[in-house]
Symmetry: C2
Subunit: 154 residues, 2 copies
Amino acid sequence: MQKLAVDEDSLLKQLQNTWYQTIPVSQFMQITPVSFSGQHFSVTAPLAPNVNLHQTMFAGSIYTLMTLTGWGMVWLQQQLAKVEGDIVLADANVRYIAPITADPVARVDWVDTDLSALQRGKRVRINLTIELWCADKQCAVFEGRFVSLPKSRE
Amino acid sequence: MQKLAVDEDSLLKQLQNTWYQTIPVSQFMQITPVSFSGQHFSVTAPLAPNVNLHQTMFAGSIYTLMTLTGWGMVWLQQQLAKVEGDIVLADANVRYIAPITADPVARVDWVDTDLSALQRGKRVRINLTIELWCADKQCAVFEGRFVSLPKSRE
């Protein structure tokens, strides 16, 4: 496991603050970063604010948790690489495999991507696969195409 | 336009109550059915609870609005056909076309589907395309595969 040059807890706290202060839905859903190793990132949310009428996790909440897990991974990598970029989701595909009856954990691995183009004013595309696990069972898979746009672009 | 045998306003109010009472996120997002003709259904949500850090609509909120628009269309058709079924989303694909800077409207057309199999204890699959419009511009497209499961199944 890669040794982080920055403090993991403070980085995850900063990410959570960014979400809660700018995306009201993320705070309502109580989306919470769990761990980040440089390569792996995981995020959770309690079931209570995220249920549907079957008392399992609502499809929209599942999707939002996975979207923010992918977005968060790109944000974290940009912090490590000391580059800036506006991260957006261009498209996504989600497949629901099993109902989620307990607190879910969304997990993503970083796919090595050169982010330095952002500093040269170029956009960077990042394809990420996010898996949702619930009690050691894979319950959903999300494939998202994220784009990071340079802050000062033409 | 098909003349509804039931009162549209009361049906939409019943749908909104179902959402708000069973899916807390839908109430937080203030998702609101707009109109239903039997063939067309449209749904909106205000921007304020649904923004991201760019002050446009959050990708997760866009997805949730469109998911519930599709879910709602199946629910409404089940009411008209006087059949019961547990509606779930099996998988979905969403493509974001343009940022949403004002109150969006999600629109779906019903694809004629025989729901009577539900009464014979069989599941029904319904593929729906939902479009998100914002100030006369198409801003996102969602393709979802919904499944309705018979209430009393083997």
